[in-house]
Subunit: 151 residues, 2 copies
C-alpha cells in the first residue's frame, strides 16, 4: 500500500476551511466546477473534469465522515480503476494563525505512474483550496493549472 500525503496551512477561520471540504459548493470552488450530489454521511458526490470542451472523466465518492471543523472522509466508488476503493481524508486543526490541513489519499495498490501524476495534481488542487479560502477565488477545473500531458 502506498499513500499520497500533503500538508497546507491556510490563514482563514477553521469554519471556512471546513466548509470548503465538507460542502458541494465548497469543493466546486477548488477541485472541479462540475460537482454534483449530496455531501452527507452515506451520500455520494460526483466530480467531472473537462479539457477544452471534452469531458475527460471523473470520480464518484461515497461520503464516509463529516466531523465539523475536524475531518472529512470519502471513499472512491466509481472512476479510474486505480482509484476504486481508495480513501481520501482531510484532517483540520488550528495552529496559531493557520488552519493546518493534512490530506491523505490512501489504499493505492501500486505506485503506478498515474499515482505520481495524482500526487502532484492533488498538491496543485490543495493550493487552489488555500487560495479559495484566503482570497475568495480558487482554480477548480477547467481553470486548473496543468502539470503534464495527462492534464
Amino acid at each position: 500500500m502506498v499513500d499520497i500525503l500533503h500538508r497546507v496551512g491556510i490563514k482563514a477561520p477553521l469554519t471556512e476551511v471546513y466548509k470548503a471540504v465538507a460542502t458541494r459548493e465548497g469543493v466546486a470552488g477548488w477541485w472541479t466546477e462540475r460537482t454534483t450530489g449530496e455531501s452527507k454521511v452515506g451520500g455520494a458526490l460526483q466530480f467531472r473534469f473537462t479539457s477544452g470542451d471534452t469531458d475527460i472523466g471523473g470520480f464518484e465518492m461515497k461520503v464516509l465522515a463529516l466531523e465539523p471543523e475536524r475531518h472529512v472522509g470519502w471513499q472512491v466508488v466509481n472512476g479510474p480503476e486505480e482509484w476504486i476503493g481508495t480513501t481520501i481524508g482531510f484532517d483540520l486543526r488550528q495552529e496559531g494563525e493557520y488552519v493546518i490541513l493534512l490530506f491523505r489519499h490512501q489504499g493505492w495498490k501500486e505506485a503506478v505512474e498515474f499515482m505520481h501524476h495524482c500526487s502532484t495534481k492533488w498538491a496543485v488542487f490543495l493550493m487552489s483550496l488555500k487560495q479559495l479560502v484566503e482570497t475568495g477565488r480558487g482554480l477548480p477545473n477547467p481553470h486548473d493549472t496543468k502539470i503534464d500531458n495527462w492534464n
Copy 2:
C-alpha cells in the same frame, strides 16, 4: 518505507530539462538560489534556504548518478534528521512534445507530518522547475510559493 512521488510534463528539449536537474546552476534556478558544491558523481551539493533574512536550514546531497538525458540521483548526507539517508531521483524521458519527469524521494522511515509538508512543497518546486525550463524563470527560494506555517 514511504515515498514521495510526483510527475510533471515539460514542453522543452530533453537536454534543457536534464540541465535543470543535473547542474548546480540549473537547480539554483528552481529549488534554492543558495546552491553550492559540485554536481559530479561522488561530489556533493549544498542547498540553503532563507525566510526573510533568516537562514532556515538546508540539505547536503551526495551525487549518486548523472546519466545524461535520463536520470539524476542524490542521497541526503546532511539536513533534518528525517531526510538523512533518503534518496532523491529524477527520471526523464520524451513523450510526444513533453519531457516527462518522474520524481521520487524515497526511504522515509515514517509518514510523519513533516513528510506531508515536503510532499506538497516538492510539487510546488517541480512546478517551479517546469516554469524555469518553459519560460526562463523559476521560483527558487527565497521567491518560492509558501504553502503553510513551515514555509
